[in-house]
């Protein structure tokens, strides 16, 4: 009886969302969705057509995926490292540090649309090649957005310690470095992942949006826009699907990394 209960809950867990998804795709393929959205199969092509186009243009799509993912990953890495460093500095100088973090976290609330053109201005002299200039500007946008998420979360991880653990370290007469590596850093690991859960999807969005304003035309986000301008909706949809896949794959990788690393941490202690 218990066994059947478990099976049943598993069936609803997977079955309900699958059924919903199947219904959605079916209504799309049969044109019902077009009626609901009051649009036509020209602007919203059938799923099979989108897949065909993705197959036909796979080389070109991969080129743009490369550009976007590169921007997202480099920006994410730079931003996260910078954000963590800021958090460490804020931990060492708590009074002024936390005030600085308030400012950094305010960056989160600034529209990326406003940031992107400013950074494009700033990076005009970085290189003579338009592709490299644009790349630098886009990376800067992603860096700033992921830095904000990382610094705020990492600061919490470095300062919100288990009760009395700081006192325990003091009784061992541990130095600041020992305290950092034995207590603060391990404590902050889950918080790093909290930050990444926000900044990984954020980095993809940052990369796509900053492409809109970039000088050099490349990237999944820019292709969506360019193809719509020339009314190639099916191609635009192919890029939208690609963008969704990028977002989902990057998040899935993050989840995998999180489960492996957190498990390793648990085994170590």
């Amino acid at each position: 009886m218990l066994h059947s209960k478990k099976v049943r809950s598993g069936v609803t867990n997977i079955g309900c969302p699958l059924l919903f998804g199947a219904a959605l795709v079916a209504s799309w393929q049969t044109g019902l969705l077009h009626k609901i959205l009051k649009t036509d199969e020209y602007i919203l092509p059938y799923p099979m057509r989108i897949i065909d186009i993705m197959k036909e243009n796979s080389d070109k799509i991969m080129l743009n995926v490369n550009a976007s993912v590169k921007v997202a990953l480099i920006g994410l890495l730079l931003g996260s490292v910078l954000g963590y460093l800021i958090a460490i500095i804020a931990t060492v100088f708590p009074k002024y540090g936390s005030g600085g973090l308030t400012i950094v976290s305010a960056f989160n609330a600034i529209p990326i649309v406003a940031l992107a053109p400013v950074f494009i201005n700033w990076t005009k002299d970085v290189s003579d090649i338009a592709e490299e200039r644009s790349m630098a500007a886009k990376i800067l946008v992603v860096t700033v957005t992921s830095m904000a998420a990382m610094s705020v979360n990492a600061y919490r991880g470095l300062t919100e310690l288990p009760p009395f653990s700081e006192d325990l370290m003091k009784t061992y007469a541990a130095g600041r470095l020992t305290e950092f590596f034995k207590l603060r850093f391990p404590n902050s690991v889950p918080y790093i992942f909290t930050a990444l859960r926000v900044s990984v999807p954020g980095s993809v969005i940052g990369a796509l949006v900053s492409e809109y304003f970039a000088e050099y035309i490349i990237g999944v986000g820019r292709q969506i826009r360019e193809n719509i301008l020339i009314a190639q909706y099916a191609t635009a949809w192919a890029y939208i699907v690609t963008a969704c896949i990028i977002g989902i794959v990057m998040y899935a990788i993050l989840m995998l990394a999180e489960s492996i690393i957190l498990k390793a941490c648990l085994h170590r202690t």
Partner: protein, 271 residues
């Protein structure tokens, strides 16, 4: 002396110091740009120049000063962001409510709720614009979708945070479902709900500005791209950058203030 020391370490003072430092860095960079560039306002103008452009009464497009233009366009952008925000809040809250009421709804929609967060909605702005065929509508829709996710997930987390004892208490009173929700569940999730509101307010504004840039017409984003293309003085661009930054940050804090007003119990300190 003691008072001075207290002032120097107060939170307010520290924030001021940081803001002053940011301004100093900005100005230093601006001086540097001024020396090496012919048109420094294209890269980084002095803050004074930006303030001047806002306060001057020179007509930029023949009938309006820079400030008037920014305000007029901001009205259009913010109204649509606001409408989308409210629609997003309402639908996000309702979905969370239905998810907490029904296991089937929860199980069906939870994976898709996660997906919405991973899909770059902002990247889809052009296609949504194409489907609706109306820039005003697409602004509202995108702002609503972006608001929807944080509000729905945070509200749901709020419903789930209610202690088991509170459920048992209501059970022992033989309270009906309506009473359980109005007396316990909904008041308990309000702080979580506001977390969602605070996260999504700047996002709704970002969405609205971004959609503006896709098409002409009225709106901060349109003005921004016109200024970037050289249709008017570059200072209008800087005005908008600062204006939207301030509005984005303000929207976050305004939600915080509304929360404090609505929840007096969180205001009173521990005895």
């Amino acid at each position: 002396m003691k008072k001075l020391k207290k002032l120097l370490t107060s939170k307010f003072f520290i924030t001021i110091v940081w803001v002053v430092m940011l301004i100093a860095v900005w100005e230093l960079f601006a001086f540097h740009v001024e020396n090496i560039k012919r048109t420094p306002e294209n890269v980084q103008p002095h803050l004074s120049g930006i303030v001047d452009s806002l306060t001057s009464d020179r007509k930029i497009n023949g009938s309006q000063t820079a400030l008037q233009m920014v305000i007029e366009n901001a009205k259009a952008t913010l109204t649509r962001a606001g409408i989308g925000y409210i629609i997003g809040i309402a639908s996000g809250f309702l979905l969370a409510l239905f998810m907490s009421l029904s296991k089937i709804v929860e199980k069906t929609s939870f994976p898709y709720l996660m997906l919405i967060q991973l899909i770059p909605i902002l990247g889809m702005a052009p296609i949504i614009n194409a489907i609706t065929g109306d820039i005003a509508k697409s602004r509202i829709i995108i702002a609503a979708i972006l608001t929807f996710y944080p509000v729905a997930t945070n509200t749901l987390a709020g419903f789930k945070s209610v202690q088991r004892e509170k459920h048992e208490l209501m059970y022992s009173y033989a309270a009906n479902k309506f009473q359980i929700y109005t007396k316990t569940m909904i008041p308990a999730c309000i702080p979580y709900f506001f977390t969602g509101l605070k996260i999504s307010a700047p996002m709704a504004i970002t969405a609205s500005i971004l959609v503006d840039t896709l098409q002409g017409g009225i709106g901060l984003g349109c003005l921004l791209s016109q200024s970037l293309k050289g249709a008017m003085t570059r200072y209008v661009f800087w005005d908008i950058v600062f204006f939207s930054a301030v509005i984005g940050i303000l929207s976050f804090y305004i939600m915080g203030i509304i929360e404090i007003m609505m929840c007096p119990y969180r205001r009173t300190g521990k005895r």
